[in-house]
Amino acid sequence: MPPLDDVVALSRLQFAATALYHFLFVPLTLGLAWILVIMESVYVMTGRQIYKDMTQFWGKLFGINFAMGVTTGITMEFQFGTNWAYYSHYVGDIFGAPLAIEGLMAFFLESTMVGLFFLGWNRLSKGKHLFVTFCVALGSSLSALWILIANGWMNNPVGAEFNFDTMRMELVSIADVIFNPVAQVKFVHTAAAGYVTASMFVMGISALYLLKARDVQFALRSFAIAAAFGLASTLSVIVLGDESGYTAGEVNKVKLAAIEAAWETEAAPAGLTLFGFPDDERQVTAYAVRIPYVLGLIATRSTDGQVTGIKELKRENEARIRKGMTAYAALLRLKGGDKSPQARAAFDALKGDLGYGLLLKKYTPNVTDATEAQIAQAAADTIPKVAPLFWSFRGMVFLGFLFLFIFGASMYYLLRRRLAPQRWLLKLCVLAIPLPWVSIELGWIVAEYGRQPWTIAGVLPTHLSVSSLSAGSLWFSLAGFLGFYTLLLVVEMGLMIKYAKLGPASLHTGRYHGETALPHADDHAAAA
C-alpha cells in the first residue's frame, strides 16, 4: 500500500491496476480469434455443420470478451498526458507512430472485421467469411504487436537519441524501434501466452460439457482443437520464454539478476536457483536449491559467458551515476547558452549516462554536488526488490509447466481415444481455466516491476516521469477506474457463465442439449 500522499507511488499504482485489469481481456481475444480461424477452416474444408456451430458458439464468447475489452486500453493513454507528463514528453516522438498504427489496426481492421464476422454469416460466402475471421485474428495480433513495440522500447530504448534542445528522446531509426529484439521476443511470448489462455478456456468449458455428458461430439471436437493449439502454444511460450531470458541477459542485466536472485557474479556458467528465499536486506538467498550451469547456458548461450551479479551491477551503476553527474553538468552548460563544439562534445560523450545522473534528483536538487551517501542511495535504487520478482517469475514458470502437462496429457488421451474416462483430467481442465490469467499477470509484474527504477530503462527515472498532480485527484481517478473495470469484469463473468451454461444451445439450431428430446441429437449434429 503506497503512502496516501505519494504521487509517484499512486501514479504507478493507477497505471499498474488499469494495465492488469485491461490485460484480463486481451489474451482471450488474441487466442480465441485464432481458434475460431482453425474451427472455421475445418468447416470450410469439410462442410460439416458442427464446425460452423463451433465457430459460432465460441465466436459468441469471443464477442462478449471483445465487447467488454474494447476501449479498456484507452484509459492508459488518458494517463500518459495527465499522470505521466514528463514521461509522455520524453517518449512522444517514438510512440507516435506505433500508437497511431495500433489505433488504425484496432479500430479499422479489427473492429470492422469483428462486425463482419457476426453479421456476415448469411451474407458472405464460406471462403470470404473465413477470410474475415482470419483478419480478426491478424488484426488483434498486429494491434498487440505495436503496443509491445512501444513497451519493448521502454525496456531497451534503441533507435532514438536525446535532443537537448527539445529535452526529449527523438526517433533516429524506426527500423531499430520495430526490430528491437526485446520487443520482438516480448510480442511472440505475449501472443503465445494469449493462445494458451484461449486454449485453456475452450478446453475447460468443453471439459465441463464432457463431465456432464452433454453436447459430447461438440465438446470433444472443441476440446481436441484447443488441446492441440494449446500444446503447440505452450511449447512456444516456454521456448520463447527461454529466448526472453537470453535477451534479458544481453540488455536487461539487472532484471535478470533480480529474477534469479544472483547476488554475486559466479564463475561461468552460472547455476540457476530453482527455489529459495531471497533476502533483500542481507543480499543472500536462504535454503537455495540450485541447478548447476543452467542459468549461464540460458542467459549467455555459452559455457564461458558470465551472468553479472547484483552486487557487481550496483557497483557498475554507481560508476554510471558519477558519469551521469558529469553529463548533467555538461547539459546545464549547454542550456546555459554555451553551444560551443567543446560543450556539445562533452555532453555527447556522456549523454548515455544522463539518466543515471537524474536518479540523484530524488535525493538532491543539485545533482552535480551530490554526496557520497546520496550516490550510494541512488546506486541502491537501481536494483529492484528481488523477492517479488523471484517469486512472480517462479509462479509464472510453474504454471507454464503445469499447462504443458495438462495439454500434453489431454492430447495423449485424445489420441488414444480414452479422454472421457479421465475425469480427473477433465476436472483439472475446468479448475485450470483461470490459471493462464494468473500466469500472464505474474509475467507482467516481472516485466514491469523488473524495469524499476526506470520508466525508460537507463534514460528516465520513474520519479521524474510523473506530472505535478495532487494525491487527491489520483485517488479519485484510481477509484473511478477500479469501479469501472470491476463492473466490466462482473458483467463479463456474468455473460460468460450464462452462455457457457447454455452451450451451443444458445445458437438456437435445435440440435443441442436442452433444445430437443430427440435421442442422440448431438450425434445428428456431428453427422451433419
Binding site: F80, R214, Q217, Y363, A521, D522
Partner: protein
Amino acid sequence: MDTTAPFQAPRRERLARTLLVTVIVKCLVLYGLWSTCFSHPQTRHMLLPAAEVERHLFAAPAAPDSSNKK
C-alpha cells in the same frame, strides 16, 4: 449429450442488445472519467515546452518516491 432432457426451446437471447448497451454505457463512463479527471492533461500531443522540462529536471527536487525503498 443429454437424451433425457425435456423439449425446451430456449428463449431468443438478446446478447447483441446486451453487448450494445454495455458498450454504450462503457463509452459514457469512460467519457465521464475522461472529462472529470483527464481532460486537462499537462501534455498536449505528448509534448511539453522544453523550458518546462528544464525546470522539472534542473530546478526543484522531484517528488519523494517511497515505493522502491530498500
